[in-house]
Symmetry: C2
Subunit: 226 residues, 2 copies
């Protein structure tokens, strides 16, 4: 594989994925794609820019989907106009199956756009940083979701694009371990769903991040900001 | 079914579908969605507006994806910056499988956005006017494509949206017959891929349209413009 596209949010998983594709898989020409879809934590996009530069990508494109938060009628706590982001500890078992931070069908939208980009540019492989959260989950981060998307894309009669999600089914601690080996600078990633000046430390994303660093017995460089 | 979303391009098939959903299926609250993705025949969107009004939809939203033509690097003859639209007669058998007028992964993008809209608004059903072209084809208009998309959407743990494509696998003449019964005004639809003042009469879309009217032995109201 000489060239690939990588979805880059600016969080830990996609930042790790980018380096993984560049260095572990040795893909020479990597095109990073980031999306603004009205997420409250749009500051993750600054981290995405930093990671793209430091990984030496061939290109980094920010796709403006600022209409998206309105398209979904504020139905996500993650986007502008949506409910308040909950703490992970607020979520009961039923809520953890599909928390209010779930963004309706966002991941199919982003993967569909990434596959369109790839097909248009003659790139056959798209990488997606989906990772199995330990304590809550999203259907559109699962192995079954990725398999289903590939079943559809495989119907293309000429230039089928394949989505790879090498971290799907792995824990965030596993991803962190890989990233540390690859020298990812986690001070330059952003996870907190609240997107304020400092990570809140309690939202579902902060809680997962904290757990991953704890599992490896190391300090999160962003924790100093908390 | 009390409410549904309908993808409305402004062409014959989706204009018919809209009336079909409103009148044949009796869905009281229909939300139409149209998309500008850099198509050369953006004038189809005027037809979409007309059809939405005349069908009495609850809402009609135009989603601006004007970045899309650039995202796919001009890889479609249908969009700004792409190659010249071919005549149907220019296409050999291989080209007819996936002509240059195919837009990379557009339909997955549009359906993913429509499903996001539907899920956000508490709508469970999305209608898609895919129809089996007789003489050429697109993989993302097939029954298998729709089935695959539904397999993916069905993984949603709470609010699975279903895509319905009642015309997939039917001929354009069949669709036209249904639309005439429903009183669709085909003078207020637009098919020509070239998107100039008058339909060219020879592009793949004009050729299919012509064939459908011929099959029913009636005159296309737009033919007077040709």
């Amino acid at each position: 594989m000489d060239t690939a596209a990588v979805l880059l949010s600016g969080g830990m998983d996609s930042a790790t994925l980018l380096r993984y594709v560049r260095e572990r898989l040795g893909v020479a020409e990597v095109h990073a794609l980031s999306f603004y879809y009205g997420q409250k934590h749009a500051r993750e996009l600054d981290a995405a820019r930093h990671q793209a530069e430091s990984a030496g990508v061939a290109s980094h494109r920010l796709v403006d989907l600022s209409f998206f938060a309105d398209l979904i009628a504020g139905a996500s706590a993650l986007t502008r106009g949506g409910a308040t982001v909950p703490d992970l500890s607020d979520l009961d078992d039923a809520a953890r199956l599909q928390p209010s931070t779930y963004v309706p069908n966002r991941n199919m939208v982003l993967l569909a756009l990434a596959a369109a980009y790839a097909e248009g540019h003659g790139v056959r492989d798209v990488f997606y940083g989906a990772q199995a959260q330990d304590e809550y989950g999203y259907w559109d981060c699962t192995v079954d979701f990725v398999r289903g998307i590939n079943d559809v894309l495989g119907l293309n009669r000429r230039n089928a694009v394949t989505v790879h999600a090498p971290f799907a089914g792995r824990s965030k601690a596993d991803v962190l371990r890989i990233g540390l080996e690859l020298g990812v600078d986690y001070a330059q990633t952003w996870s907190c769903y609240r997107g304020e000046a400092r990570p809140c430390g309690t939202c579902p994303s902060c809680a997962e991040r904290k757990k991953a660093f704890c599992a490896l017995g190391i300090e999160d460089p962003l924790a100093r900001l908390t």
